[in-house]
Amino acid sequence: EAGVAQSPRYKIIEKRQSVAFWCNPISGHATLYWYQQILGQGPKLLIQFQNNGVVDDSQLPKDRFSAERLKGVDSTLKIQPAKLEDSAVYLCASVNTQYFGPGTRLTVL
């Protein structure tokens, strides 16, 4: 069984630039999560999708972060504009958070 795929694995940008991350969950998994993990901390939930719909985005900083999940499969998470404090690993997960992707490490300079 293929795992959760994420790209890119690493990204370095200047503050105020925009960035997008992509996630492809395990085939058939309806629930998809995006987490932010700052170095030395546990993951923090940003947004949860059930198929195309948003279940919980209460911790998503909506002034700069956006996410979508077209056709209930792949998902993208965007940050525009990025701030220094957005430097973190962005993790995608599916099926009740039992399966995580490898994450995208974002560095904002």
């Binding site: 959760v4 901390q41 546990g42 993951p43 939930l45 958070t97 039992q98 995580f100 994450g103």
Partner: protein, 107 residues
């Protein structure tokens, strides 16, 4: 507000030296307590889910237990390959992760 804490922050063991990691939680309407292992540069790897106080689950050298306020991850006769960060998470309305315990097992 739901909260999950873990102790110790870091733990160094000699190979074969058994110990326990603690996860304390205050999660309203807890629906499950999860344990994960995370290696550097990788996403968390699911280990166990516990649903009710008194429940126990085992996998190789790991055993997880749950009470009404905390969970323990017992590591019996650890090996160097058990070195990792161990995360716990409680789920009520949504997932709340603890900060993790960094475990180092020395040969």
């Amino acid at each position: 507000e739901d909260q999950v804490t873990q102790s110790p922050e870091a733990l160094r063991l000699q190979e074969g030296e058994s110990s326990s990691l603690n996860c304390s939680y205050t999660v309203s309407g807890l629906r499950g307590l999860f344990w994960y292992r995370q290696d550097p540069g990788k996403g968390p790897e699911f280990l166990f889910t516990l649903y009710s106080a008194g429940e126990e689950k085992e996998k190789e050298r790991l055993k997880a237990t749950l009470t009404k306020k905390e969970s323990f991850l017992h590591i019996t006769a650890p090996k160097p390959e058990d070195s990792a960060t161990y995360l716990c998470a409680g789920t009520g309305q949504n997932f709340v992760f603890g900060p993790g315990t960094r475990l180092s097992v020395l040969p």
